[in-house]
């Protein structure tokens, strides 16, 4: 049995056995935090704490599912970085990628586990064996989560070896990789005009209905990439922003010979 994460322990301690029971305001209350929703001009969410009590304020002009993630994110700060004041900008919350402060990634992980706890999420995810945006939409409706946060949660699980990339007109914004995909598969900064994603972002093409086969070198600037094919599916997530799943279907791409070499080196 896998040990429960801090967020999952909170949910299990409240007897939560169904996604519909994840009432964030009430959960926050049990943790000593009150949640307020009001227009915020300079940030997406903030938390003010004093001793064992806190007030979390979330921008009510953001989409409702975005607000839910922000509450979870601030509760993550409350659990891990108790302090007097934390102010989070939109780019601090619910974005993938490793180039952000550790504290923001920790808060995001807490939020993801609180909104989509593994003990409820994994069985539901497994009932959708194909990693597609159609599956992401169905799961996000069950957990009342955004397409982006649900896609990140799926990509970071061991559901399917995949890389999830977010692009805007000026290039790649962030990406996350499944644990099974070796580090050497690092997506290109800019979209290849051959990719289907390019047509969605710049050509006004519709979102892909199903993953489509494409040469891996369209996505990865690496000498061996031309040997492989991957599956690609893109969905728009707002004005000038797209998410793409790159599904790694060739087992040879998953050979982590860099790690094997490092381990070998340590043994010597």
């Amino acid at each position: 049995m896998t040990a429960l994460t801090a967020a999952e322990q909170v949910l299990a301690g409240l007897g939560i056995t169904d996604p519909s029971e994840i009432d964030l305001d009430a959960i926050a209350w049990t943790l000593g935090a009150r949640v307020r929703y009001r227009p915020l001009d300079g940030c997406e969410a903030r938390i003010v704490g004093n001793g064992a009590r806190a007030v979390i304020t979330v921008n009510d002009r953001s989409p409702p599912r975005r607000q839910r993630f922000s509450v979870g994110h601030e509760l993550g700060h409350w659990r891990h970085h108790r302090g007097r004041l934390l102010v989070c900008q939109a780019e601090d919350i619910g974005r993938g990628g490793e180039g952000r402060p550790v504290s923001e990634r920790t808060a995001d992980n807490f939020a993801a586990q609180l909104l989509m706890p593994g003990y409820l999420f994994d069985p539901i995810a497994r009932s959708h064996p194909k990693l597609t945006f159609q599956a992401v939409r169905i799961i996000s409706d069950i957990f009342d989560t955004s397409l982006t946060s649900t896609a990140i949660r799926l990509a970071e699980s061991r559901h399917t070896p995949a890389v999830l990339v977010c692009h805007g007109p000026r290039g790649r914004k962030w990406f996350v990789r499944s644990p099974d995909v070796p580090d050497r598969w690092f997506p290109r900064d800019n979209l290849d005009p051959e990719s289907f994603a390019f047509g969605v972002l710049f050509g006004g093409a519709q979102d892909d209905r199903t993953p489509r086969k494409i040469g891996a070198d369209a996505w990865f600037d690496r000498w061996e990439a031309e040997r492989y094919e991957v599956l690609e599916q893109t969905a728009s997530i707002g004005l000038d922003e797209i998410l793409t799943f790159i599904l790694v279907t060739d087992g040879d791409m998953l050979d982590d010979y860099d790690r094997a070499r490092r381990t070998e080196g340590r043994r010597r």
Binding site: R36, G42, C43, R46, V48, V55, R84, Q89
Partner: protein
Amino acid sequence: MTGTKSDRIALARLADAFVEDVLNASDEDILAEVREDHPDPAAAAAQARGLFEKAAAAAGKGRLAAAQAALAQQRGPANVAQLDPADARRRLQRILTRDPEMAHRLTLAARKDQGQGLSDNDVQGLLEDMAELGITPDDDGP
């Protein structure tokens, strides 16, 4: 539960004695005792664990329901007077003078926000949050 206080004390003593008895028994003794009533101790343990988890979940759901009920009573606008924007900024400044950590955090946030600083609306909201937590300027003047 009904009964007098002395009855409850007696029951608690009896429960303590049972617990003490179980804790002092060896694993073999407990297994032997379980086998007297249950041919499969593992199944009995699983059943007991299931009952325990069910009771824990029920207690947890009770805590969640209590939180929901408390929130339903509390919801509504915070009872803080709308301050003149300049007064509100002075009030916030007085709090921050006393609290360097909080002042530092706000400076960092303002930098990330391209230095635009807090809007009047954000200052008012922040003061309301602080007031709810009992964070006010020492003199509590305007």
